[in-house]
């Protein structure tokens, strides 16, 4: 059964960007979340945080204007906006872990129905793996958005009853934005808030490894 078109990674980022309130302090992780800064809704200002000690990170530095002492968590030369500040790595993670950031967005391999997140290591992968700041961010985010594809390349659900991949954090995810849906983790379980254009709630449920709660008809995502 050939699937219908799903959202692109850019569209997932574009939808996730709408979750950011004006004036928010925000940390963006590797992968799809890193694309979110390109799709901020018009008229809002957010202050991007980087775990190496930057608040108020601006766009990527232009060619020829890079400074190797001013990089983001992915080593990409960046700029700072007016009103930015620098601090040490402990203070940077005091902000992530201590609940000082308004929103954090991370990539994911799996999210469980309780909001557990697995995003740092694939079982059986070679090498040491690496945790970086993900566990601090997951544990402390006031609102954690996980951005990922709804299914693996082989079609397996990435939203599952229980994670089988090594965990990053337990009961830490608040919202999942995928190429098929926007899902909130609630006390009652996973609530399907929106579906991708052209997809029904039933079709999304079929591709999900945990029960999705719906309240009335589920609207299609809009992109601002």
């Amino acid at each position: 059964m050939p699937d219908k078109p799903r959202l692109t990674r850019e569209q997932i980022a574009q939808r996730a960007a709408q979750e950011l309130p004006d004036g928010a302090y925000v940390n963006l992780g590797w992968g799809i979340p890193n694309l979110i800064s390109d799709y901020l809704p018009k008229g809002i200002t957010v202050y991007f945080h980087s775990e190496n000690g930057i608040l108020g990170m601006g766009p990527r530095a232009k060619a020829g204007e890079e400074d190797s002492d001013l990089v983001d968590a992915m080593k990409v030369p960046v700029t700072v906006i007016s009103g930015a500040s620098f601090f040490n790595q402990a203070d940077a993670h005091l902000m992530t872990r201590g609940g000082h950031l308004d929103v954090a967005a991370l990539g994911g391999f799996q999210v469980s129905e309780k909001g557990d997140l697995a995003n740092w290591k694939i079982p059986g992968s070679k090498g040491s793996g690496g945790i970086g700041g993900a566990m601090d961010i997951a544990a402390g985010a006031r609102k954690l958005i996980v951005c990922m594809e709804h299914n693996t390349k082989e079609g397996a659900p990435k939203i599952v009853k229980q994670c089988t991949y090594p965990l990053t954090g337990i009961e830490c995810t608040h919202t999942v934005v995928t190429d098929l849906a926007v899902i909130d983790v609630t006390q009652e379980g996973l609530e399907l808030r929106e579906v991708a254009p052209g997809w029904s709630a039933e079709e999304v449920q079929e591709r999900t490894g945990a029960k999705l709660i719906t309240r009335g008809s589920v609207p299609e995502m809009r992109f601002g």
């Binding site: 190797s68 970086g132 337990i170």
Partner: protein, 225 residues
Amino acid sequence: MKQKIVSSLDAAVADIPHGARIMFGGFGGAGFPNNLIQALSRKGIQNVFAISNNCGTRDGELGIMFKNGQVKHVICSFPGPHSNHFQERYAKGQVTCELVPQGILCERMRAAAAGLLGFYTTVGVGTEVSAGKEERVINGKRCILESPIYGDFALIKAQKADELGNLTYRLAARNFNPIMAQAAKTTIVEVDEIVPVGSIPPENVITPAIFVHRIVQAKGMHYAG
């Protein structure tokens, strides 16, 4: 005045013994004490117990120490995509590794610096990093006990030092350096510039001189990696 300025990189690291616990500052190519690392490697040190956010970028940063088989154990948070010398040694069992969440790595060093013997955190609960650690519930939250991380030496990079050892850092090159400076018995800093006492306004000092034991001036060495 205590003389902290050392005339050469080699002299600055000359007394670091085999098997020392050494902290290395730097993150994302910024703020690495690359010249001190080269000097340490050059002197043929062995069995280093390293504490560093990552494990080198190809031959750069700590990469040279893994390439030469000079590290026996590393505490880190993210070895990094180009830590190939570390990964090769790790696969062969020639180096062991404790992975620590990045902010917890900072706080474990801060605990050491602050004379605290441990702390409880929710970070890592239910994950691989909680293995073997005491777990309890505080205010309804599951948390684990984390222990301090001490260093015998810290090798760090700053932009400017005065002759007393007061330090400033440039842009985002601060990262782990001020934390490690506080957590080691002996902190050795390489700086771009040494200035007379009094020329850094006190309110601009980031690392106070009490945490700095040796200062060496070295031309910045960057790895594009």
